[in-house]
């Protein structure tokens, strides 16, 4: 008798709890919207070329996408607070470029003014400084963020071209090569760095007051202020962090290529925006998750990889890259089921 009562009560509780639990599950599902698409691409890839699912090829995909992925991470932070940073692609070139210019000997087109050990700190400092200038202009002086960062994109690219004389820096100090060339447990360090950064990003955005304040600011900045969030301070942090991450991304790329070209990062910002939107980050702020952003980049680069394995000629890759963005957008619209904004 008493047993039946208990059973009935617990069942009742279960029913009550069912609705919210399902809601959470659904909300979480949105983060995984691209996972089916990624699986489909993997299957197609395997059919096109059995090399696709081999460890070396997958690591290769991860390493190729690692630099862009870090840029996407930075842009995701900026987009969630309803801002934009176009200058990331130029920062990605300028930061390692300046470091190389100062540390590389004359034979590698540099000045050789600083010892090689300074290269990494200089790179990161340049990135943070660019972020701080952006923040100063946008937040302190209230200028239009889109145009400010567009201006910065052009200025920074010009600076790198001016400093390098349009040439490529090589003979980079070993500290700059470390991220792009070393392997831990058979996987390049740049892949580890990317994965760790995204893991940190997921935790920060989902489980810290700072992370949640980004969503609050992007959703309704007045309400965020009313809740006591120091909105200006958060925005500063986001823009400066984004600059720093762009510099890190540049460091990874120049490490992998063992050189800094004056066009490093040129045009990458479009891929970055595309990956973010495909990954479910709203350009209107306040929406999207770090995991979603990661799946966005992954999907883009997997499709690219499948095409390369399928033997598409290199001359056509440019046209295809654009189409891939559109196709990936369509796929994410279908699997995500929601109107993108």
């Amino acid at each position: 008798m008493s047993e039946t009562t208990t059973a009935a009560t617990s069942e009742g509780k279960g029913l009550l709890a069912a609705t919210p639990a399902r809601r959470i599950a659904f909300a979480k599902l949105r983060d995984f919207a691209l996972v089916p698409a990624i699986i489909v691409i993997a299957i197609i890839g395997q059919i096109v070329n059995p090399v696709f699912l081999q460890k070396d090829n997958l690591i290769n995909v991860l390493q190729t996408m690692s630099e862009i992925a870090v840029l996407v991470l930075a842009e995701t932070l900026v987009l969630i607070v309803k801002r934009m940073d176009l200058s990331l692609e130029s920062t990605m070139g300028l930061a390692p470029g300046l470091a190389a210019w100062l540390t590389v000997p004359k034979s590698g087109h540099g000045l050789g003014a600083l010892p090689g050990g300074w290269a990494v700190p200089v790179t990161l400092a340049v990135g943070l400084a660019v972020g701080a200038v952006n923040a100063l202009l946008i937040i302190r002086f209230g200028l239009n963020g889109f145009i400010v960062t567009l201006g910065m994109l052009i200025v920074l690219r010009g600076l790198l071209t001016g400093v390098s004389g349009g040439q490529t820096f090589f003979n980079l100090p070993s500290s700059m090569l470390y991220l792009g060339t070393t392997e831990w447990f058979g996987v390049p360090v740049s892949v580890w760095v990317t994965l760790v950064l995204f893991a940190i990003g997921i935790v920060v955005l989902g489980w810290t007051g700072f992370g949640r304040s980004l969503y609050a600011i992007g959703g309704n900045i007045d309400a965020a202020k009313a809740a006591g969030i120091r909105t200006d301070r958060v925005l500063w942090t986001v823009l400066v962090t984004a600059g720093g991450l762009a510099a890190l991304s540049g460091l990874m790329l120049s490490g992998r290529l063992a050189s800094v070209a004056s066009a490093q990062g040129n045009g990458d910002i479009f891929t970055v925006f595309a990956a973010a939107v495909i990954g479910g980050i709203s350009l209107n702020g306040g929406k999207g998750s770090m995991f979603g952003a990661f799946t966005g980049v992954l999907l883009l680069f997997l499709i690219q990889n499948v095409l390369t394995l399928g033997g598409v000629p290199a001359q056509w890759i440019g046209a295809l890259n654009g189409s891939i963005i559109l196709v990936a957008l369509v796929i994410s619209r279908i699997t995500g089921g929601k109107v993108q904004d």
Binding site: W207, G209, G228
Partner: protein
């Protein structure tokens, strides 16, 4: 009130007291030696026309702005420093008209934004959700903590905001026009909730343009006019006419003059064709894009007739009106304007057929805030401003000047941006635009929402004049004052027309029909 009561009241420490408050913005005096005293456990109304100083008083009372002169005290103790936001929030909170709920976040997160529950430095979502559920239960707000705020109704959002306000410890809540966006049923639920909270020891300062609401829910009323305190009195002892007089500074006529007009005669002038004839109109069913549908709606508006389309917010009245003006297309059925069939779902076609239109929400669809009064007023009639696409500024300003005079818009001139006008005058500009093409059919959706008493009377007078000149008018609203000017009122409920009432209906019967109940009069 007896002598004994009075002596008891005077010994009670007021929840909030402001004395001798003066606040200037440049040369404008927003408050001049104003004062207000709110007794505990009361619901205190604060009324005044737009620009009377209510908003300034609220921002001073909530510590958003420091007064130039004067003192504020809560429960007898002086107010905290302006920088100490948390201390203010423990004393007083304001639920503003503009929601401070973040639509993208869940209810739970909105409630505990920036004060999340934590364990080991990270947010403890489980604890946070439990706290939110407890809080919602404690104030009996019927919302699930995990719901994304975007899915809440306006009403639910308000309840969530009130619960959040109370969770800071404040027991004095300012409600700034809480009923402006609610329909009748939701308003009565809100009032029910206010009464419950009052019994739990919460004091309210209630700001509203709707005088009936004040008589229904409030104990005491304070009137502000021209930046000054005019009177404070128990609501029960203040007749409606005196209250309006205090607000406007002049004795208001209790009844508006009815304009003489003959519907039959005007109908003949228009060639016998009705201004609007809708037959068998069915719209998309509920759920598509969050809109409510309507089903098999037929109605006729004769020339010179004012027809009301009443109903609760989800009854489909707004959707029918929007279909008539081409903002949406019907699934089936026909709309004839002055006997002519109009291409469905096309606003230009409707305008060309002679429709003038005041949309539901002036902020969203009514006007372009940055544009001038003249530009907004003439937005629908570019062809009258010049030929082949070029606009003559001189003609525009002449036309706008006529409009400004015609509708008594209080503005510094046709070049003033509409965003700088008060709510009532903004609505007049929207009305002016609707009248700009001398419409045969005037469609008004909630034409007096968020408009002060005088502007409201003026706008409704204008509607009657327009009808007297032979225009057919359709008013979709749940505001009894709007419907009072109608020759007949069609009542919609759940997407269907359920009743028709001739002029002279009883409020009681109309409200009952709008709520889907049988009228028992």
């Amino acid at each position: 009130m007896s002598k004994a009561d009075e002596s008891i009241m005077s010994t009670v420490v007021p929840v909030a007291q402001a004395t001798g408050i003066t606040k200037r913005y440049g040369s404008t005096v927003a408050l001049r030696a104003a004062h207000i005293t709110v007794e505990p456990g009361q619901t205190h109304a604060l009324v005044g026309r737009n620009g009377a100083g209510k908003s300034t008083l609220v921002s001073v009372l909530t510590g958003l702005q420091a007064p130039d002169e004067g003192e504020i005290a809560f429960g007898g103790a002086p107010a905290p420093r302006l920088a100490d936001r948390d201390a203010w929030r423990r004393q007083v909170v304001c639920v503003y008209q503009k929601s401070t709920i973040i639509a993208q976040l869940t209810v739970a997160e909105n409630l505990f934004l920036n004060r999340h529950a934590r364990s080991r430095g990270l947010i403890a979502w489980r604890t946070l959700r439990r706290q939110a559920a407890d809080l919602l239960a404690a104030w009996s707000v019927d919302v699930t903590a995990d719901t994304v705020a975007a899915e809440l109704s306006v009403e639910q959002r308000q309840f969530v905001e009130i619960a959040r306000a109370l969770s800071f410890g404040a027991r004095f809540v300012i409600l700034d026009e809480p009923t402006a966006q609610l329909d009748g049923a939701a308003i009565s639920r809100l009032f029910e909730r206010i009464r419950e909270l009052q019994q739990q020891g919460v004091t309210f300062l209630f700001i509203s343009h709707h005088l009936e609401e004040i008589y229904e829910i409030c104990d005491t009323v304070t009137v502000f006019r021209d930046a000054q305190h005019i009177l404070t009195a128990p609501v029960a002892e203040l007749p409606r006419a005196d209250l309006v007089a205090a607000m406007t500074g002049e004795a208001a006529s209790a009844e508006r003059g009815v304009h003489p007009r003959s519907i039959e005669q005007s109908a003949e002038e228009a060639g016998g064709k009705p201004a609007l004839s809708v037959s068998g109109l069915s719209g998309p069913s509920a759920g598509i894009g969050g809109d409510t549908g309507y089903d098999d709606v037929s109605l006729t508006v004769r020339a010179g007739e004012i027809v009301g389309l009443a109903g609760a917010a989800s009854s489909g009245r707004t959707e029918v009106a929007e279909t008539v003006v081409g903002l949406r297309a019907a699934g089936s059925g026909e709309v004839l304007i002055a006997g002519r069939r109009v291409r469905p779902g096309s606003v230009p076609a409707a305008l060309a057929a002679g429709v003038g239109f005041v949309p539901q929400d002036r902020h969203h669809q009514g006007y372009v805030p940055g544009m001038s009064v003249a530009d907004n007023g003439t937005l629908t009639v570019p062809d009258r401003l010049g030929r082949s696409g070029f606009l003559s500024h001189r003609r525009r300003d002449t036309l706008a000047a006529t409009q400004i005079e015609n509708l008594a818009v209080k503005t510094s001139g046709p070049d003033q941006p509409v965003s700088g006008l008060s709510g009532g005058n903004q609505q007049k500009v929207v009305m002016a635009r609707a009248l700009a093409n001398d419409p045969r059919l005037l469609v008004l959706i909630n034409p007096t929402a968020g408009v002060d008493v005088r502007s409201k009377e003026f706008l409704l007078d204008k509607v009657e004049q327009t009808a007297a000149a032979g225009t057919g008018v359709l008013i979709a609203s749940d505001e009894l004052d709007d419907l009072r000017v109608c020759d007949r009122v069609l009542v919609m409920f759940a997407g269907r027309i359920v009743a028709e009432m001739e002029r002279g209906w009883h409020d009681h019967a109309l409200v009952a029909a709008m709520e889907g109940m049988e009228a028992d009069v």
